[in-house]
Structures are given as C-alpha cells and as structure tokens.
C-alpha cells in the first residue's frame, strides 16, 4: 500500500504554537532582550552584550556574590526538602489504609493541604509560629526552647521547612499510594510463600514498583522547592538578614526593589536554565538507568 506523505498536518499544530508563543515564548524573549541591555530610566536602553551575565557568574562582584549565596541556599533548601518529604511520603503511603471507607477519608485529609494557596499557607504558619499569639511558637517558647523565626536563622529555616513539609508531603504520599495500589495481591502472596520479611517486601516489591512515581515525585518536589517564593516571602521576608533569601526572593528585590531590569533578567534566564538542565539531566539519567535495568 502506498501512503501519501506530506507535512500538511503540521498546520494543525499552529493554534497551539500561537497560544504558547503568546503566553510563553514572546514574554520569555522580552526577558532575554532586557538581559542584554542596560537602562537608566526614561525608557532608554543601551546595549550591554553579555555584560550582566559575566558579572552575575563572577562570584567576586557584588551581584555574583549575591547570586551564588542565594543559589547555595536554594540548593540546601531543595536537598533538605527532598531528604524529608520523599522518605516521609513513602512512609505515609505505606501506612495508609488499603480498603473500605478509611481510604476515602485519608485521601481527603491528605489532599487538604494541597488545596490551600501558597500565600495562605504562609500566613497560617506566620501566625502559627509567632511566639506571642501562635500555638506552635508559644508552645515551643513555653517549653523553654529559644525559638524566634524573625531573629534566629535556625528557627527561620526550621519554620520554612516545616511549612513546606506540611504543605507538600501529601503530594508525595498520594503519588506513592497510587504506585502501591497498582501492585497486584499476588506479589504480596508470593512474598509470603517465599518467606520474605516486611523489609524484604519493601525492598524487593514495593520500592521497585514505586520507582516510576518516585521519579515524578522527586522531579516535581525539586522544581517546586527550587522555585519557592511565596512562603518564605510571607513568613520571613527573606530574613533574618539574608538567611532565607532564595533566588526568587532576590530576583524580586533586584527587579522591583532596585529596578535593575538587566541584572534581574540575566538572573532569571540563568535561574531558568539551571532548573531546566537539572531536571533534564535527572530525568534522562533516571530513565536510562531504568532502560538498562530492563535489557
């Protein structure tokens, strides 16, 4: 059979392309445009080439120093978040009921934090953690713990991390639960027959079967935690000092606080590329490892 071959079908992609261009590509190019220019106001722009980029990537400059400090805080934050939320999410999923009405109940309770908007989560925790009127802050203070997220760096970090764990562990748990539910009963029965203990069942059945969803969970939690803005902005405002100033907060300070559009634009692009590259490398490596295991 001869199949007529032409490329007319590409025209069908045009509406999507236009939509994406309108809401993503064109705005993005505006940022690229700003990042290679300098302005002194009055809507007058001067060509600056890769000037902002070299300054940004050189740690000895003021901008570069700020950038690397914030980037380091982002990396630390994402690492802590992944190290807590992934194991905790798996644990919660393993403890969730498997049948009957408790399933629906647990799912609803777990989904609740996911429905709360970011800035509301921030506000809740900001009040919750206050030592004068907040339940958590007051209790900790009452127990004699020196807790004050507005002045103490450790308290500030602990608060922001606790808040993120409260907000997003549910997502990991729900994804893992979906992975666990897809394991047929026969696997557990076979493990019993084969005399496997609880740990062996987890290691040899549950964890491998959750591999795919964990891949997605790690990816989502990495991207989201790396781009975090609202919660620390609402709770700590990046302080005390600069101790919780992550890239996104710094970016807003430079762009809207100092109105350094060129610097901010260059930083945005680099920030964006970091997330893109890390996710791409991670996903490619993980799926390749997966394929190698298969063959």
């Amino acid at each position: 059979m001869v199949k007529p071959l032409d490329n007319k079908a590409w025209w069908l992609v045009l509406p999507v392309f236009l939509l994406v261009a309108f809401n993503a590509i064109v705005p993005m190019m505006t940022v690229v445009n700003y990042s290679v220019q300098d302005t002194f106001g009055n809507n007058q722009f001067f060509w600056n080439g890769v000037g902002w980029y070299t300054e940004l990537l050189d740690p000895s400059t003021e901008l570069g120093g700020r950038f690397y400090d914030s980037l380091g805080r982002n990396a630390l934050f994402s690492s802590i978040i992944l190290a807590i939320e992934i194991p905790l999410g798996i644990l919660v999923a393993l403890c969730m009921p498997k049948k009957g009405w408790p399933v629906a109940f647990t799912l609803v309770v777990l989904a609740l934090p996911l429905l709360v908007p970011w800035n509301v989560v921030g506000t809740i925790w900001q009040i919750f953690a206050r030592t004068d009127i907040g339940l958590l802050g007051h209790t900790l203070f009452g127990l004699g713990i020196d807790y004050n997220y507005t002045q103490d760096v450790f308290s500030a970090w602990a608060t922001v991390i606790a808040m993120d764990v409260w907000h997003w562990t549910s997502l990991v748990a729900l994804l893992c639960y979906a992975g666990l539910k897809s394991i047929p009963d026969a696997f557990y029965q076979a493990a019993k027959i084969d005399g496997a203990g609880r740990w062996a069942v987890f290691r040899t059945i549950e964890l491998p079967k959750m591999g795919r969803v964990l891949l997605i969970a790690v990816l989502l939690r990495f991207m989201d935690s790396f781009m975090i803005y609202t919660e620390p902005f609402v709770v700590t405002g990046g302080g005390p000092g600069n101790s919780t100033t992550v890239l996104s907060i710094d970016l807003v300070k430079i762009a809207l606080g100092q109105f350094d559009l060129g610097k901010a634009a260059a930083m945005s692009i680099v920030y964006y590329l970091i997330i893109l590259v890390v996710c791409w490398v991670y996903y490619t490596v993980m799926t390749q490892v997966d394929d190698e295991k298969r063959s």
């Binding site: 029965q189 076979a190 027959i193 084969d194 040899t204």
Partner: protein, 357 residues
C-alpha cells in the same frame, strides 16, 4: 513431603453465613496423598482458588481444619507451613537477577550458600533457564517470567506440596504443551505433591493422575481421567469433561427401561429403588450415542454434522432435547430424519444430578 488432609473444611467470606449460597466452599473432607499429581478442575468462580489459598495458608478457613501429616496447620501462617504456590500471572522480583529470584525462597530460609547455588542451578537447568541466570528478571518475556515463577515454586526441596493456580494462562499455546510435559517430568523426578488448578480439561487430564472436579464450591468427583470420562458421578462432570459434553436427558426410569420423550431405551441394569420425588435423568456420552439410518433406534432429527477431522459428531434433536451423537464412518444421513442407538452399558442414571447404581 507430606500427606494433606482436609477435615470437614468449609469457607465463607461473609462473617455470618446463613444459607448454602453464602459459602464459597461447601463442606468437604478429602486427602491428598504424598507424591500425587492432582488437577483441580472446574469453571471460574467454583472455589478452586479459595481451596488452594486455604491449603497454602493465604486464607484461613471459617470451618474445619487442614492437616499436613497429622499436624494441624489450619491457623499456621503461610511462611511457616512449608508450601509453595505459583500464581496465574508471573510474579518476579524486578530488581533481582533470575538467579537471585530463584534463590530468594531459599535465602529467606537461611539455607547455606553452596546448597542454594546447587539447587538453583539444578532447577534452572530443568526449566531451561540455565543461560538466563545472570540476566535481570524484569527484562524477560512473559513466558520466561512465568518459568521463573514456576522455578521459585519448585526450588524448595522440602515443601509439603507445590500449588499451581492456572500457571500457564499467560503462556503461548505451543510452549504451554511443552511446559506441562516438563512439569509432569519434574513431578516424577522430584516426587512432590503437586496440585494444579485449571479450568481447561485438556490441561487437567494430561497433567494429573487424579483429577478433582469442583462445582459450586463443592467437590463433585475425584478420580483418574478415564473414571471421570466413563463414570461421571455428577451430570456436571459429564458436561464439563469431554467435548462435546455428555447427553443428559430427563427420563422416566422403571426397572430396566428408561423413557425419554415417550421412547423406550434399554438400560444395562435394573433401577427399582430410585429415590421418590427426585429429578431423574439419564446420561450417555456422545461417543456411545451412535447415529443410524432412519427407522433404527430412537427417531431423531439431524440439525448439522460437525466434521472434526478424524471423527464426526452429529448435532441432533430428540423432541425438544438437543443431543450430540457419534457418526460412524460410512453413515451419511439423507435429509434430517435419522435414528440413534445408545450403548446400554454406557447409560448412567442420575437422581438429582448424582449417579445412581
């Protein structure tokens, strides 16, 4: 290695069973002798898997008890009762190699390394998995995966029995035949009790030396394949075993004669004391129901003739009853009028579906 006894065993998945219909397994007492090759045959939903899971300990029966060599194991958990089970769909441990998969049940029981190595190699060799031992199990095809599952079932030498729950469902037909013969050979070689669940009569009859037929949660007959064929104890066995199934006809039986639709049929023996009020039927296999020319035997109408290659069966009507009959070579009915002759020695009489006499 053990004899398995089921004593007054019954099971209901409901907490408070009231009627017979609430039971997945009707009360039964039976013995599986050490070293037997059993097939548990029955349609889907007849309780085969429930019975198997009770023997392996995955399900605790609501009534009665299970004994391995006089030891009551009814409440003993699976991992402590020395039993192996192979499931319908391949169960493999994704992250492990074929070798580790086969070694898993042995290692979990703390077997010494050299012994594990020797046993795994032996079983892998028997199942033609020798060359795949180093490969990752998840990369294998469905057939090979199921072989690994079978291997894990067979690898432990000390098991009381190996239970197979329709293990060849996912295997392609050509390999199915080969694997079944292999299992049979393994059974002879390893001398372990095997219980093989299936709904496929060919599979059951070729694998087992004792076929146990289940129907509606109860065991209706257990015996050698030829016994099931020649003397079905229950009309269900007659229907389920043999293709086409047995002809079962409502009849009035008095003395040595049965009347079907008004036509007298001679029986081999006399049936003078049939239970009163029971539903009386006679059953005769199509192989012993011979089609003849019009005017001979009982007059019937021929609907069509199925040529199965070496033999032919006629689909016929006796009044409102649809029957099947063997067509001897050379017989070619003209039109739809013909007669059938039943072999009196092969006619069974059933009262309420159970064989009498």
């Amino acid at each position: 290695m053990a004899r398995i006894d089921l004593v007054e065993l019954a099971h209901s998945y409901k907490p408070n069973p009231r009627s017979e219909a609430d039971y997945a397994l009707q009360p039964m007492t039976m013995t599986w002798r050490q070293g037997g090759a059993y097939a548990l045959l029955g349609p889907s939903g007849c309780g085969k898997t429930t019975l198997l899971n009770i023997i392996s300990g995955l399900v605790v029966p609501s009534h009665g008890s299970v004994h391995f060599d006089d030891k009551d194991v009814t409440r003993l958990p699976t991992e402590r009762r020395n039993i192996a089970q192979v499931f319908q769909f391949p169960v493999i441990y994704d992250t492990m190699s074929v070798f580790d998969n086969l070694a898993f049940p042995l290692r979990n029981r703390g077997m010494a390394r050299p012994a594990v190595e020797a046993r795994v190699r032996e079983i892998a060799h028997l199942l033609d998995l020798g060359s795949d031992l180093g490969r990752r199990a998840r990369g294998l095809g469905a057939d090979a995966k199921q072989k690994v599952s079978l291997g894990r079932g067979l690898v432990r030498a000390d098991v009381a029995a190996v239970l197979f729950d329709e293990p060849l469902t996912v295997i392609d037909p050509a390999l199915k035949w080969e694997l079944r013969s292999k299992l049979k050979a393994l059974h002879r070689r390893l001398d372990i009790t095997m219980i093989y669940v299936t709904h496929d009569q060919t599979e059951a009859l070729t694998f087992a030396d004792t076929v146990v037929v289940m129907h509606d949660g109860g065991i209706v007959q257990s015996g050698r394949p030829d016994e099931l064929f020649d003397r079905p104890e229950h009309t269900f066995v007659g229907h389920f075993i043999g293709s086409p199934g047995m002809n079962v006809m409502p009849a009035e039986v008095s003395g040595g004669t049965a009347r079907v639709d008004g036509h007298p049929i001679e029986l081999a023996g006399r049936f003078d004391r049939l239970p009163t009020g029971a539903r009386i039927e006679i059953g005769v296999r199509p192989e012993y129901t011979r089609l003849a020319g019009a005017g001979q035997g009982v007059p019937v109408k021929v609907e069509r003739i199925d040529d199965l290659g070496r033999i032919r069966f006629a689909r016929i009507r006796l009044g409102a009853l649809r029957l099947a009959a063997f067509v001897p070579p050379g017989v070619a009915p003209e039109g739809d009028a013909a007669g059938v002759v039943f072999d009196p020695a092969q006619i069974h009489v059933y009262a309420d579906s159970r064989r009498v006499g």
